[in-house]
């Protein structure tokens, strides 16, 4: 009986905690946007964060984009050649990358490469009471620490996703045209005929921007909200990666259902 009561109590506490965190996250997001002006006025802070989350993620994005494109090229060729339409390989690679894989996989990589680092940094600053010290010196930690990291992530994400898609198309070309020998002219011309700039490429950019906002917000919030202990920081980092991944995939479904309502 007590075990049952305990279970109910724990579920209730978990639900209250979740609602509490969502409310705090919303207020945090509002304040973050309000102090963004102050922080963007000192642009070099944001530039520094673009370097840490964007430039340092370049290598992993380029390499994984290349490999994803190569796998798509191989698998796509296997399937398409059964129907005698291996020239459509370019269409398959480009559409799946620009619409889905580019934004989603780049955002997942970004969350685990840069998001976790941001959470660790802010969490550790909180644990060692640097944020409190800033407050004492009348420096707003939201404007000085949090907002630059947020905007650094938001600006980096679309660029990384575009780079991922471009590298993926290159990887698909490498496997399809160079190694397997699909006709190069048909590869590019069918791709250009099927991929629409506004419909496919721009929608992909919008997606990656939304993912950037979600991942960056989750990362800075988890860091700011962490329990100020070594264990709390480690738990916050785990939560960043897990909830970013879930947010990306759920948002992807929502955005896709808005953007590609069963057309073509």
């Amino acid at each position: 009986m007590t075990a049952l009561l305990d279970l109910v109590r724990r579920i209730g506490a978990g639900v209250v905690e979740a609602v509490w965190r969502i409310g705090f996250a919303t207020r945090f997001f509002g304040l973050l946007l309000a102090y963004s002006g102050q922080s963007l006025a000192r642009l070099h802070l944001t530039i520094r964060e673009i370097y840490f989350s964007g430039v340092l993620s370049l290598l992993i994005i380029v390499v994984s984009g290349l490999f994803v494109g190569m796998v798509l090229g191989l698998q796509g060729y296997e399937t398409l050649q059964r129907y005698g339409s291996s020239e459509a390989l370019g269409v398959l690679v480009a559409l799946s990358l620009t619409r889905e894989l580019g934004p989603v996989v780049a955002a997942l990589l970004f969350a685990s490469r840069a998001g976790s680092a941001v959470t660790a940094e802010i969490g550790l600053m909180k644990t060692t009471e640097q944020l409190k010290a800033m407050d004492m010196m009348a420096v707003n930690p939201l404007a000085r620490v949090v907002a630059p990291r947020f905007w650094g992530g938001v600006i980096s994400m679309p660029l990384l996703a575009a780079l991922f898609s471009a590298m993926g198309v290159f990887g698909g070309w490498l496997i399809g045209v160079v190694f397997i020998g699909v006709d190069e002219g048909a590869f590019w011309s069918q791709m250009q005929a099927a991929v629409d700039f506004r419909f496919d490429v721009l929608n992909g950019v919008i997606k990656s921007f939304v993912f950037g906002v979600a991942v960056a917000l989750i990362a800075v919030f988890e860091g700011y909200d962490c329990t100020p202990t070594a264990e709390g920081v480690s738990r916050a980092i785990t939560r960043t990666v897990v909830s970013s991944a879930l947010a990306i995939l759920a948002l992807d479904f929502v955005l896709t259902s808005f953007m590609f309502r069963g057309q073509s």
Partner: protein, 155 residues
Amino acid sequence: MSRTSLDLWVGFFVIIGMGALLFLAMKVGNVGTSNFDETYVIKAQFDNIGGLKVRAPVKSAGVVVGRVTNIGFDTESYRAEVTFSLGAGYRFPKDTIATILTSGLLGEQYVGLDAGGDSEMLTNGDAVQLTQSAVVLEKLIGQFMFDKAAETPAN
């Protein structure tokens, strides 16, 4: 405030990000080839549009001159009403024939325009009067079987 090596890296990052986007726009996508800056809209009614889809190309003599923007159903004539936007540079006479064609045996369907000889041109919002429906394979086979059955004498 002075320049730092960090700025160089961020600049490099922004440039290759933009470069990737440009690559997607120019090489992968079809910006400039089928998105016409200025367009005008014309309509056509078909008995059957087959598998025509929105955004399918409108071609004349094999050249893409526009795109299908909307497909609707006219409840008065019980026919499909297809709206397409054509590039402003491509003018067609009033007696142009619109046909629904298929590229290849199993390819996508598109609208073909065959220019007539009228001196008046179609303007924005006009309707093409002469149309030809999509070829429906089932009907074609049905007709072929019917003809075959009619040829063989009954016994």
